[in-house]
Subunit: 191 residues, 2 copies
Amino acid sequence: MELLKERIRRDGRVRAGGVLKVDGFLNHQMDVELFAEIGNEFRRRFSGDEVTKILTIEASGIGIACLTALAFHVPAVFAKKTQTKNIDADVYRTQVESFTHGKTYDIIVSKEYLRPNDRVLLIDDFLANGKALEGLARLVKDAGAVLVGAGIVIEKGFQPGGERLRREGIHLESLAIIDSMDEKTGEIRFR
Amino acid sequence: MELLKERIRRDGRVRAGGVLKVDGFLNHQMDVELFAEIGNEFRRRFSGDEVTKILTIEASGIGIACLTALAFHVPAVFAKKTQTKNIDADVYRTQVESFTHGKTYDIIVSKEYLRPNDRVLLIDDFLANGKALEGLARLVKDAGAVLVGAGIVIEKGFQPGGERLRREGIHLESLAIIDSMDEKTGEIRFR
């Protein structure tokens, strides 16, 4: 998606350790008009898939998921992160390992909002190691729903998540895939 | 806002301890078409205020804030909750007490995204004790920006936040104000 790549080139900042800061338009301050374009692009890429629900994870995926849901005319659901371990029969629950924060947390979705007849599109802002997306995919599977695919705004192509998910047969659409970044020059190379 | 009140009557569930569950359309599963109507309603109520930015707090405010920002054609920013206490010169920071979770947490916003020339509208899904909204208002003040007002989807009129904020002179618009709820009959009375 050219509009997005231009925006990343203009406003993204490369930091040490493979970090790309895009919090001016994507995940702290949010350019919602760009999000609407992103939603339309996901709608185009997953047209014909009869998506009934958008699923994301709090917090930075929520805005993009909402504008994508608007393009599909379906509800969005966000999985909640939780550190409580209590057994709750009303939720689907799985564990996600976070490389960024170096810890493990549970994510939950109410069973009311993921149904066996749902056709679910996962949406997230970033894909790096793919652990969050795999967790969401497990929740969909636990619900007996159909996983239509996953729409990602920025994929770090130099990290293993994207390749692994594609190998598992998940229809993955990333609007910008970064092959390399140079923290000295700030140069970003897209696939 | 009649459409919203009808929805609360239909899908809201009253629980013990003054809890209203609206997670089927507001803060877990999200009816984004309703959010678009809510955004338009806030746009109508704060027209002429020259809003330049929508500010909310993660996580459940984000979807409503995004659709409101779309109606205003301005960016949305969400304050991040954090438990780390490290001094960071790049952020505005304040402490918020949570009655629901019985603990205190910090919220932060990058100084880049709240500027002295901003005219800020706060958006949140619920108003009860008002601590989160007051925290957001302090961040706006710290930035030297103008606080235009606050748009709330559901105000619990039987809790003290709304009255206190109005007394402080904040232009507060709540789309549904609940005066009482009966957990036995499920009846909800709006102001």
